[in-house]
């Protein structure tokens, strides 16, 4: 058996510290909620609809992010656009903006007196105090994960593979779908998962735009400030466990596909 090198020891030690750091609060949460209360939380109608709303809105945000963000990622990976560096920096900005500021910024565009709000209200779509407001808040803070993952995924695909597809009769769009996407789908999926995760956890921006109906993060905060920690933990835990299972499922799919390859 190979003796562990010094690198193994040092890195394991450092890594273990971080893993413990992440694990301890989660364990505390788990242990702090007796099973009975967790069950109550899961059967509480308000908690369930809040979690359902979170899941639904995050799904829509991720869908919109995919439809618009994957093409953007492709352009960023393949083309040298004018102002490309600016766009790449811009894509990362929402991640560093304090969340309530993001909410206010969105309010100033999609509020009923502003251009975005007025434009969409023509189609019967309003944002403030409505579900679409939740979706755009989520989209704003989380889309950069997807865009960057898409861009990096496409960068890892040799563009010459697409050229070969072109010489074999595929147009640019055909080459995209038959070569670029199949070869980067894992990155795209990973990016979508990250985006979805970030969307579900969003709080500050959503709070400004749409407090009612309440998504899970808002409800948990509400429970905490109104009733105290004891009543905030169970729905928080319910959300964490649910998200964990979705992650595990999706990551499992991406791994399994990799091993089942006829390669």
């Amino acid at each position: 058996m190979k003796k562990p090198s010094r690198l193994d020891l040092i890195f394991s030690l450092l890594g273990a510290c971080l893993v413990l750091f992440l694990l301890a609060p989660l364990l505390k949460m788990l242990l702090g909620s007796p099973a009975g209360e967790l069950h109550d939380a899961l059967t509480d109608g308000e908690v369930r609809s809040a979690i359902a709303l979170s899941l639904t809105c995050a799904f829509w945000a991720t869908l919109i992010g995919t439809v618009f963000g994957v093409p953007l990622g492709y352009l960023l990976a393949r083309r040298s656009l004018p102002g490309k560096h600016f766009i790449e920096a811009l894509v990362d900005v929402p991640v560093v903006i304090p969340h309530p500021v993001a909410g206010i910024a969105l309010l100033l565009v999609f509020g009923r007196h502003y251009f975005g709000g007025q434009f969409f209200s023509r189609f019967g779509l309003t944002f403030v105090g409505e579900v679409p407001g939740i979706v755009i808040a989520m989209l704003f803070v989380s889309s950069s994960f997807l865009i960057n993952a898409a861009r990096d995924g496409f960068r890892n695909v040799d563009p010459r593979l697409e050229y070969v597809a072109r010489t074999l009769g595929y147009g640019p769009l055909g080459a995209f779908f038959s070569v670029a996407v199949p070869l980067s789908w894992r990155n795209l999926l990973s990016g979508a998962i990250m985006m979805w995760a970030r969307a579900i956890s969003e709080f500050g921006a959503i709070l400004i735009l749409t407090y009612n109906p309440k998504v899970a993060s808002v409800l948990i905060y509400d429970r905490f400030s109104t009733y105290g920690l004891k009543y905030a933990l169970p729905p928080a835990l319910a959300l964490v466990l649910l998200s964990l299972s979705v992650f595990a499922l999706l990551r499992g799919i991406s791994l399994q596909r990799g091993q089942g390859r006829a390669a």
């Binding site: 500021v101 105090g129 709070l207 407090y211 009733y227």
Partner: protein, 339 residues
């Protein structure tokens, strides 16, 4: 392109100007006021205050630190209930606690976490609006409800379960129904604020008001004045502002979230009074007393008035016997009930 970064800077300033965006935060915008010191030990002074007291107490602490360079103030702002919870549930150290709703003092703080409290300022419910609010030119203390009932006027208040200003709005509506002798007015006014116009705290409401999403919001006069915003003063019979009308206020009540989800508790109308105390386990008792003495001194009162706080002078203590000796001279007894 250049506008984007600038806009965000403006937004950041707006946000901090609104007195802190994070609902529950540690050391907000007024944050950690540090003063240089030539040498000698630094002493901390930990102050928990309600959101509406952030500005006046921030100024007080700045001046106090200037006079006492060895003191490092640590200011934490949040909702009154959050502050109390930090002390009772988390055991966080606190030297001076100042809330916007004095009723949290007798319960749950006393007797386990504090022995006394002092009332030093009052507030009133007003309607806050901007120049672009509908019918802004017309509205006054008499026709306000009639205007709010007009179609397409958007009003909002904070969440009654989460913020006292929220349930105070409901109480205000009930008092208005009585005062104006308009049965059904409560229900009508209730309908003018649908769930989508409710936000946890006044901070978020102000954002909606200033962006034109709402025309009128119910809030404290101190918040309106601190923010330089226009407001409609309402009759004292309904705006919970006067201690002398406490009996009138107590004729209305409403149900808000109790101690557990699904539970409700009844809140009876009370005048809005700011109260402070030194929790029992304050780590810097002496310093806390010195600060309160300073705050209630003519100089301190001047500072608070500049921040639009309506003071009650002299401040009234719940139990003179239980007051620390050093503060006996700063308070009169609550029993005397001067306004």
């Amino acid at each position: 392109m250049r506008a984007a970064p600038r806009l965000f800077m403006v937004l950041l300033c707006v946000l901090f100007g609104l007195g802190g965006a994070k609902p529950s935060s540690v050391a907000l915008s007024a944050g950690t006021l540090r003063t240089g010191t030539a040498g000698g030990e630094q002493q901390q002074l930990i102050v928990f205050n309600a959101g509406s007291l952030t500005a006046p107490f921030g100024d007080l602490l700045k001046e106090f630190a200037r006079l006492h360079p060895e003191v490092t103030p640590q200011q934490e702002s949040s909702g009154s209930l959050d502050l109390v919870r930090k002390i009772t549930e988390f055991g966080k150290p606190c030297d001076v606690l100042a809330v916007a709703d004095y009723e949290v003092m007798p319960s749950p703080l006393i007797p386990q976490y504090a022995d006394w409290y002092g009332i030093f300022a009052r507030n009133q419910m007003v309607l806050i609006y901007t120049a672009s609010s509908k019918f802004a030119g017309e509205i006054n203390g008499n026709n306000w409800y009639e205007i709010l009932l007009r179609p397409d006027v958007q009003s909002g208040h904070s969440d009654p379960d989460a913020d006292p200003a929220g349930y105070r709005t409901l109480l205000l509506w009930q008092l208005a129904e009585k005062y104006y002798r308009k049965p059904g007015l409560y229900e009508q006014l209730n309908k003018t604020v649908p769930a989508k116009n409710i936000r946890p705290k006044s901070v978020e409401l102000v954002a909606l008001l200033q962006s034109g999403e709402l025309d009128y919001i119910y809030g404290y006069r101190s918040v309106a004045e601190q923010g330089g915003m226009s407001f409609v003063a309402l009759p004292p019979e309904i705006d919970l502002s006067e201690a002398s009308k406490a009996e009138l206020y107590s004729t209305v009540s409403t149900q808000v979230a109790g101690s557990k989800p699904g539970e409700k508790k009844t809140i009876t109308g009370l005048p809005i009074l700011f109260a402070l105390t030194i929790p029992k386990n304050a780590p810097h008792q002496q310093l806390a007393e010195e600060f309160i003495r300073f705050a209630l001194s003519p100089q301190g009162q001047e500072i608070m008035k500049r921040r639009k706080l309506t003071l009650i002078s002299p401040a009234l203590a719940s139990d003179l016997e239980k007051l620390p000796k050093g503060l006996r001279s700063s308070f009169a007894s609550l029993g005397k009930g001067r306004k």
